[in-house]
């Protein structure tokens, strides 16, 4: 492996000399352009490889006005869903030969003050936004859309920015339908952060499923749980204090569901016999709760891949489809935290069917 030291010294001229091909043709091949006979191209690439030639993308980009670099602006990427999404985006960029400039908006959350200028000054070819907290940044959405190709994995207020995300309404609907099919009629919901579009979509799905079944969807069946396990614990208790007849709960994400399971255990309630719990997101860790969590799987990795693919198409000058929304499908994973509603006679207690 000689790339390291060699890269500082080997020039296009050196490669041309070794391959015995003209400087012009060698340069053309090394810069990825033009029609050059296959045999000649192979000879040049072999010489480049022998010498450990590394193109100076920086110098090249000044000429080509392209950096082959994508800016990635993220929220807290130790969030498991977000990190899966980034893994997908990174792999797709790499597959297509693009580099990634990474900046997070955590913990300050100042996208307009820091993250965007940082990307602009490095002359990225496009920007992938994966930062839920940017949702309300109208100014940002407006600027981005007119400056560079941009794709976001969360909706940006004001529209105009192409979005790739999960079908969140479907997620809420699928989870709630599953509970209805198990005979539940009083179904509570622990929601994510109020006002967020993700929360609204999942709630809409929940209400749609209840409406379809002609079942009550009162406001006091919904409790805001926020972002973490502790929020889920508090929300579950509040919900059951108000509506102690609830027999099932749809949690907007798996951490809330883990909180709900913990709170129910602490209250001496059995899951699923006394109360069924369904989560959403399908994180790996949800398979190992006690009992294992029924949840809706969101394809985070695929969202990252698809968002990057779309962005690179825009960078390459393809049709931009400005403001297009792509929603990837979700699916239910049935484990043991949900079961048929127990009748007042305690008769129906068969567990839900299981998958995987």
């Amino acid at each position: 492996m000689t790339v390291g030291r060699a890269s500082r010294h080997v020039s296009v001229k050196d490669v041309a000399a070794r391959s015995g091909v003209s400087f012009q043709t060698t340069s053309k091949v090394l810069n990825g352009g033009g029609s050059v006979a296959e045999a000649t191209r192979a000879r040049i690439l072999q010489a480049a490889s022998d010498l450990g030639y590394v193109p100076n993308l920086q110098a090249r980009s000044l000429v080509m006005q392209r950096t082959r670099t994508i800016g990635l602006i993220t929220g807290d990427f130790s969030d498991p869903g977000l990190s899966r999404c980034l893994a997908g985006a990174e792999q797709e960029a790499r597959r297509q030969g693009y580099g990634l400039m990474l900046t997070s908006m955590e913990p300050e959350g100042s996208g307009t003050e820091y993250a965007l200028p940082a990307m602009m000054e490095r002359r990225v070819d496009g920007i992938l936004l994966a930062a839920p907290q940017m949702e309300d940044d109208r100014a940002l959405g407006h600027v981005l859309d007119r400056t560079l190709p941009v794709v976001s994995t969360t909706h940006i207020a004001g529209g105009g920015v192409t979005t790739v995300s999960a079908d969140d309404e479907e997620a809420g609907q699928v989870a709630t339908r599953h509970l209805l099919e198990q005979g539940h009629r009083l179904i509570g919901a622990l929601s994510g952060v109020r006002g967020r579009r993700l929360t609204q979509s999942r709630l809409r799905g929940y209400r749609k499923a209840l409406d379809e079944a002609g079942v009550e969807s009162a406001n006091d069946l919904v409790e805001e749980g926020g972002v973490d396990v502790a929020g889920g614990q508090v929300a579950l208790r509040r919900l059951l204090e108000r509506r102690r007849d609830v027999t099932a709960v749809f949690c907007h994400h798996d951490l809330l569901a883990v909180g709900a399971l913990t709170a129910l255990r602490a209250m001496g309630k059995r899951v699923p016999e006394d109360c069924s719990v369904v989560g959403c997101d399908g994180l790996d860790s949800a398979a190992f709760t006690s009992p294992p969590l029924t949840t809706v799987r969101v394809p985070f990795y695929d969202i990252g891949v698809e968002a990057m693919r779309l962005l690179l198409r825009m960078v390459a000058g393809g049709p931009t489809d400005g403001g297009k929304d792509v929603a990837l499908p979700v699916h239910l994973i049935v484990r043991s935290s949900t079961a048929r509603r127990t009748g007042s006679d305690g008769s129906a207690r068969a567990p839900a069917r299981r998958a995987r």
Copy 2:
């Protein structure tokens, strides 16, 4: 917010004109150099801000031979520990005004073939390695050390690369001592991937603690669990088939511990009454297992911060301390998966003291 559009047009000349200061002085200030009176500097920066000036780092770096960019080569960053570490590294780089070029070696794992050339061609100022699978890449360690400032969060074979990681031997020792203090004498271990330095260090700590206490540390008390929950389940079963008198198990990482808890439950054994389980890593999710997991907290975030801090000091031309190893301290978190060993008369069953 006008940075977006403005950045393509506002030049140093424009800033000089608006501030009423000479081009030369303006350029000096905008490029961060030289001694310029505070009032003048302030006037120039105000003008730059008013106009939405964004420096072209790319052009500047060709002149300065610096890109103010660090290359980050990672493993699978949807691994929760690794992603915490990256979050720390990213925040520290940002704080010091450095950008990050990100590339992962997943799933191919070809550091020498792809990741390194990708960084070299973008002329990064230094490289942070956070990829456990690079441990055995002797060639890589050798090249990196002579080419650019490098810091790694895992040991690279052949030495020479500065490393920042946790005190893994201490981790194994602390976990095992805790079990010894609870009266356990037959203590099994589920290890990570055999041969990895991390595994060896944690095993060494385990054996050291047993030796200190004059307790048996036979080879058949150690079972390789590998990387995930399923591996932990299999390893726990194998261990108990061979040594059914084991009353406590030290798991090299939390996922193995989750596997052990699951397997014990499936075998009808109670935790901690029949068998105590202690994990390692201290992931957030370990607090919500059933029962909540006693574990050793590894400061992943701090490792990222410290590794980046050291790297940037090297980039700035500080003492390089080549091959220096920094080991950050770990600490025990006692929850409910460990308890005093039950005597043959079943007398001692008081739970372990709890923290947090």
